[in-house]
Subunit: 284 residues, 2 copies
Amino acid sequence: MKVAIIGYGNIGKAVEQAVLAAPDMVLSGVYHHNDNLSRIKADVAILCVPTREVPEYAQLCIKKGLVTVDSFDIHSRIADVRKDLGVLDVENKTVSVIAAGWDPGSDSVIRTLLQAIAPQGITYTNFGPGRSMGHSVAAKSIEGVKDALSMTIPLGTGVHRRMVYIELEQGADLKRIERTLLKDDYFKNDETHIIVVPSVAALNNVAHGVNLVRSGVSGTTHNQRFEFNMTINNPALTGQVMVACARAAFRMKEQGRFGAFTMIELAPIDLLPGDPEQIIKELV
Amino acid sequence: MKVAIIGYGNIGKAVEQAVLAAPDMVLSGVYHHNDNLSRIKADVAILCVPTREVPEYAQLCIKKGLVTVDSFDIHSRIADVRKDLGVLDVENKTVSVIAAGWDPGSDSVIRTLLQAIAPQGITYTNFGPGRSMGHSVAAKSIEGVKDALSMTIPLGTGVHRRMVYIELEQGADLKRIERTLLKDDYFKNDETHIIVVPSVAALNNVAHGVNLVRSGVSGTTHNQRFEFNMTINNPALTGQVMVACARAAFRMKEQGRFGAFTMIELAPIDLLPGDPEQIIKELV
């Protein structure tokens, strides 16, 4: 399976490492964000461009008949992107796997499985401690903020605290920055603490985590309790998930099952290389 | 979807509760273990007979064109049962889901997902505390043992202690029972404690649990850590898993994807009732 990587930031670099470690893949090329894509020679394009640009790049690649994988992560738009790309995939006889990261992504698989085996109940997904890109960018965009890091801290039952570390420009008005930040849509509904530091770069760290909890009912039996925890390097996990999904997408294309799919629509066995019978012997 | 239940022990009763709670299923009948199955009118047969009898009952049902679901749990024979039933399923244009419980079953899905997202590493599955049926039956079969309960206690890294509670027959030779039990294949490799109690029935409890741990490598990044825990009512969870798999199997049959499959070969979304787009909006 020949794999092209489009976009070469944190995620693109992590995907490169996972492709090179995969026994069934060859890296055919790394394309930068603004490169001309007409020269791509690959079976699969793994899209590591900024999330808002994913649909545009996916369409370009699908029209060339490539399998695409992305980690599009705007939860509210996933169903629409799936529908739009799916039409193109069927027209071009190919497959896209979208929203293939850890959340959305592998966490979605856990949530779906738990919903199936204890259908009535509540699942709480608690994120962190770890950096939120969206919140960090929002904080950094405020006038007078030189750099910002917003850490997501899980308080349980899906409630999160925001710890915002900011580095100030010379002569910045801290009181005004605080007022602006606390009114911002990203922060106004959460407990938010602002801490001025001499260097945000000195704090940066790609560690992240999840604590996903469900208490539910199987049949008529209550008090079925489930918990999934992980502490991970964020881009490394995202990159590896995308590579596993590239494998599944390629198999689905070979089977003529064209369309755009989220991870909960893939059979987990297709994420793995190797002989299915051997995998069943080892993992079932 | 019309569902028949074959076998009406702990699991059969739990399946009945889950079928009655399912919005998309009708219970067409409950058949006892030795009933004549020729009169079954259903789309799906959920097999709740003892595990060793599963292949025989599955074959009977498949030959009638029924979808079958079982929780066959002899790990070493799953691949063979899958192969044998798969041939029959294709001949009869139907679908079987085998080994559909929690281990094998939903735990297998978690193991497969974690293997895919951190391909290098070790997964430990720690069971219990909870009753092991196989060990309990082995202990009960020893001469002089009136009743027995073998509890599986997790010691971590996949190592387990056996706590065996036995109720003696009048005049039984405890020393001989202890020697026999500790030499038995089920017990000889594990730390085993034998405790004589006045009533095993007074101790029985269908609670069980799992602690599944993986430390692995994503790409070239080590120290990716994952943990899945559950504490559950054992037959209730098994019954609910079988019902969810019945739904997935029925969909695969409608799509013409005939054969025998383990849970890691099913798309998790197919375990759930309802509109796929709505499920994606809620769970991805």
